[in-house]
């Protein structure tokens, strides 16, 4: 039978400080680990929430982002003849032909950041029901006017309702602030598409077209018709949400790889800390180990008792680290999404997968840090241990 668990737990009480410091070290690493995963999940959540399930986005196949996509006027007309497209009150196909560019804004800290500027067509309202004006008013489509997403207004001195921004040789007045329900659009500036095409001298070639289906389930039929059309071979149609979801993969993957690389390095420190603590525990309790062995406990019982001790420390560190990381959900940060070349604001998102991975990571550190000391304890000869 094994050495009782309350023996393990009671030993913590007799060396509170070293145990607490070891737990704190492990908790810190788990916190950073969980924060990285939450960051990546936050990027995904934000971009996957961008767009409507009924909307279809048309882009040029060769483009790896909206700004590098170009769609000429003829193609814009062809796609509107495809089946299952929703119509507006005036009987025309609902569509938003959107030029997209990246402009520079001055941040609160004085540095520059890239911001996506999107021109939207006059009838975009029914296609983007989640977009609402929360301050000021909608832009006038006949004027050089802008509305600003709620996630960027607080971060850029230039981006205030009432201020003007200078680009494409014109002064643009910000007349309102909009909310797009926490999605990626909240990190953008919007204006009227034709004002933008005019200012940038782009004729009528836009970056993307967004169309609305009668029902989300019509997509497969629509896509088949789209792909059959010889004139549309250079373009691709995707659900709007899938398109933005894919845009998140690069950034989320980058955060994960870099972040996990950093935490793995940190974790070496925490594991060495746990190892030192456990080696000290073994050295301090040599006589105890010798006594238990003399009484008839097997080597493996000693091994297990010390491994459990390391695991309990690791679990405590894991729980505290995850609990602290949970608090990060109240913070929102921004990062450059290199797929769209512009900043995106997002929140840390705690997911069950993050909790599980973080705890597995903590347990892993406990086992690695505790293993060698536990082996040392189990290998002590009884008489050497009893001599102290």
């Amino acid at each position: 039978m094994a050495i009782p668990i309350h023996y393990t737990l009671s030993n913590f009480k007799s060396r509170k400080l070293t145990t607490a410091i070891t737990i704190a070290g492990l908790a810190l690493v788990v916190f950073v680990f969980a924060a990285v995963l939450m960051m990546a999940a936050g990027v995904e959540e934000t971009l996957q929430a961008t767009g409507e399930p009924e909307n279809v986005k048309i882009v040029r196949k060769s483009a790896n982002g909206e700004i590098s996509s170009i769609i000429d006027g003829e193609t814009q007309n062809i796609v509107q003849t495809l089946p299952h497209l929703a119509k507006g009150e005036d009987g025309g196909v609902l569509n938003s032909r959107e030029p997209v560019v990246v402009i520079n804004l001055t941040g609160e800290d004085g540095g520059f950041s890239n911001i996506t500027l999107r021109g939207v067509s006059k009838g975009f309202g029914p296609m983007r029901p989640n977009v609402e004006i929360i301050d000021g008013r909608m832009f006038n489509p006949d004027l050089r006017e802008l509305i600003v997403g709620e996630a960027i207004r607080s971060r850029f001195v230039d981006a205030q309702v009432g201020s003007t921004i200078d680009f494409a040789g014109n002064d643009w007045l910000i007349v309102g602030e909009f909310s797009a329900g926490g999605s990626g659009f909240d990190s953008e500036l919007w204006c009227d598409a034709s004002q933008m095409l005019d200012a940038f001298n782009r004729g009528n070639s836009v970056s993307t077209i967004t169309l609305k289906l009668n029902q989300a389930s019509d997509f497969e039929v629509f896509k088949t018709a789209f792909e059959k059309d010889q004139r549309l071979q250079q373009f691709q149609a995707q659900r709007e949400q899938d398109y933005y979801g894919e845009q998140s993969e690069g950034l989320a993957g980058f955060i994960r790889v870099l972040g996990i690389f950093v935490t793995v390095i940190f974790s070496i420190g925490a594991m060495v800390g746990a190892m030192i603590t456990m080696y000290a525990a073994v050295a301090n309790r040599a006589t105890e180990i010798g006594t238990l062995r003399a009484l008839g406990f097997q080597r493996r019982s000693i091994l297990v008792a010390f491994l459990i001790e390391a695991l309990v420390i690791a679990l405590a560190g894991g729980v505290i680290g995850v609990a602290l990381a949970t608090l990060l959900q109240f913070f929102s940060i921004s990062a450059l999404n290199f797929q769209s070349f512009s900043e995106i604001a997002f929140s840390f998102a705690m997911t069950p997968a993050t909790v599980i991975s973080s705890m597995i990571f903590a347990i892993f550190m406990g086992i690695v840090g505790g293993f060698l000391p536990a082996v040392r304890a189990a290998r002590l000869s009884i008489i050497d241990a009893l001599r102290g």
């Binding site: 039978m1 094994a2 050495i3 009782p4 309350h6 023996y7 009671s10 030993n11 009480k13 007799s14 006589t287 105890e288 010798g290 006594t291 238990l292 062995r293 003399a294 009484l295 008839g296 406990f297 097997q298 080597r299 009884i382 008489i383 009893l386």
Partner: protein
Amino acid sequence: MSALIQVKNLSKSYWREKFEIPVLNNISLNIDAGEFLGLMGPSGSGKTTLLNMIAGIDKPSDGEVVVDGNVISGMSESQLAAWRANNVGFVFQFYNLIPVLNAFGNVELPLLLTKLSKAERQQQVETALRIVGLSDRIDHYPKQLSGGQQQRVAIARAIVTDPVILVADEPTGDLDKASAEEILALMERLNKEFEKTIVMVTHDPRAAESASIVHHLDKGDLVKEVVQ
């Protein structure tokens, strides 16, 4: 009938780097069941080493140790551990109680290696603590007890499994005179009343008086046997 404990031509040396240090030289010794044997001798004469061999926590370099018909010097390490759990009670000079366990927890430890139920264990722990006169200290921790009381808890731990032999290495070595006498009286009672076979190492001639037979060791040789 053969003796309970038979030490046959036992030699032991330790290796320090490349030098062999002989500690025990060809020792033979029989201990009958119910005997209270004292081992005396100068420091470094090999008393502890011989005791460890009899208790099965060290192995001879040559010769064998047979206890109750079992050749313990030939057992594997895990067989030996199981054998000790069932057959040997240990009493150490510095008590060696587990500081984070109370008297009950310490005495219960050897029973965790048996198949006894929780209730049976509790009953045996209480009996052992009653025999050593510490029923009222069952939930005290080692640091809340005097040296003599700690040694009595250690004796309770040694007898709780009702082992065949008790081994004690200077059990009074760390105690004042009054406590030492209490412990010796207790050991004598365990020997007479409970018929425990005891092997006790001691420096103290007064302690040796409790034993029924005393063997003297000098530089690894048995030099004298005194029957009392």
